[in-house]
Symmetry: C2
Subunit: 239 residues, 2 copies
DNA sequence: TAGTGGTCTAGACCACGGC
DNA sequence: CCGTGGTCTAGACCACTAA
């Protein structure tokens, strides 16, 4: 018994209804959706079909899922221009949002083959690896792994790593940023990346790799950033 | 009766096995995977579970799906630096790949509200809208919509639009590109975008908006690009 | 026309989050 | 402890592709 109004498919119908509720402001950014069971009862369908509709809305960036916590309406994307090395907190504050940072780990280790390529290092060179999670309005949106060439940052681990690394570089080591190279592509979050972003394994994320150079053109470090894919809009100006 | 070797979950197990086959070269870029029914029999599971594994590999960019045609192993991502306005064909050829272009439509229309914002136009200004699909190695990877300010491009519709627009701008109108502005974020393909890329509705794509200026800083046009999300790696240099 | 993925049903148990 | 999403079973019919 098909629905009297046809939309092409059940999932399309559900998607459009939910989308309209969001557009009309009945469901507002940050709001929690009813549970999948409630929604599937509401739309008189199964959880699998209902979930397909939710996944479509997630892909479009309209809603997001917190692992085992529920589905929520997305907030506007954070505008992020990686060319300007302004502090994360400053960038977020300028957009009238709340920022916070959590350090997951910070330790000295040896460069992996991929890191050697990126940072132009000899095999087995020591690097300092710092893992951090950055949140906006209380939601974890970016997992980032900094890889610093150890010899250029003596005793950096003694400092407070919650703050802006840009500041630390400048104040403690006299480095300021010169040029940088970026790679940007969508991928899937695995392991600690998924965990720290409260994502289910293999959820889509936007990956941004940056290789940073100092004011003299010497390589400083690389940042591997994984963004929740609905939370960011990369914005770039080119001359 | 769980599998003797545990991987955390069925889908993880299936994903890892397929990933290994790809890594080892037993399944090579461009190869077609067995059908979902064959694979689910092979892994002794249902199509839904099997599909979850395929979706995870798709999110990671390892495989892709052609609507109702089957699943294929992804080729290496095309490196794309939007700062350089070299021709698409030239860029693709330089990476030892085969390029082709198809024009879906080209017509004069009136600027939508969003276009007015992007191009800084008065309401109801005429624009020329060109829809194209670009393929690499025979696979449609990018849907692009060009929106030209009509008054700046008299009679452009009389020309061959399969070729590079950059060339056409230069040769017919004396325009060369100055600066450009970009926005990049993941979203979902709907309607003609999904169709022209042979994607199922609401499949994930990487969206790139560019606003192009001429050598005198005057706005020329905007490009709305939708890339198959496994097919591209955006690469940017910043001074 | 045969085979493909797209969609859908009607359930079930599990692991984890939060009270 | 209960509610949540995560995972999974065992089927079914449909729309479209490709030969």
């Amino acid at each position: 018994m098909p629905n009297p109004i046809r939309y092409g498919s059940q999932t399309t119908r559900i998607r459009k209804v939910l989308e309209e509720q969001i557009d009309q402001g009945l469901l507002r950014p940050g709001d929690k959706l009813p549970s999948e069971r409630e929604l599937s009862a509401l739309f008189e369908t199964t959880r699998i079909t209902l979930k397909d509709a939710l996944l479509a809305l997630e892909a479009a960036g309209r809603i997001y899922c917190e692992d085992r916590r529920g589905w929520f309406v997305s907030r506007p994307r954070l505008m992020y221009n990686p060319q300007y090395r302004i502090h994360f907190h400053e960038m977020v504050t300028m957009q009238n949002r709340q920022a916070s940072t959590q350090v997951l780990s910070a330790a000295s280790t040896l460069a992996t083959p991929e890191l050697c390529r990126d940072l132009n290092l000899q095999p087995l060179t020591p690097v300092i690896k710092i893992q951090r999670v950055r949140s906006v309005d209380g939601r974890a949106v970016k997992y980032v792994e900094h890889n610093l060439i150890a010899s250029r940052f003596p005793r950096i681990l003694d400092h407070d790593l919650t703050q802006s690394l840009t500041c630390l570089y400048k104040e403690q080591f006299g480095y300021s940023y010169g040029r940088a190279r970026f790679e940007i592509y969508p991928t899937a979050a695995q392991g600690i990346i998924a965990e720290s972003l409260n994502l289910a394994d293999s959820s889509p994320v936007l990956f941004i790799k940056r290789i940073n150079y100092d004011q003299n053109g010497q390589i400083l470090d690389s940042d591997l950033e994984y963004w929740r894919h609905d939370a960011v809009c990369v914005s770039i100006d080119s001359g």
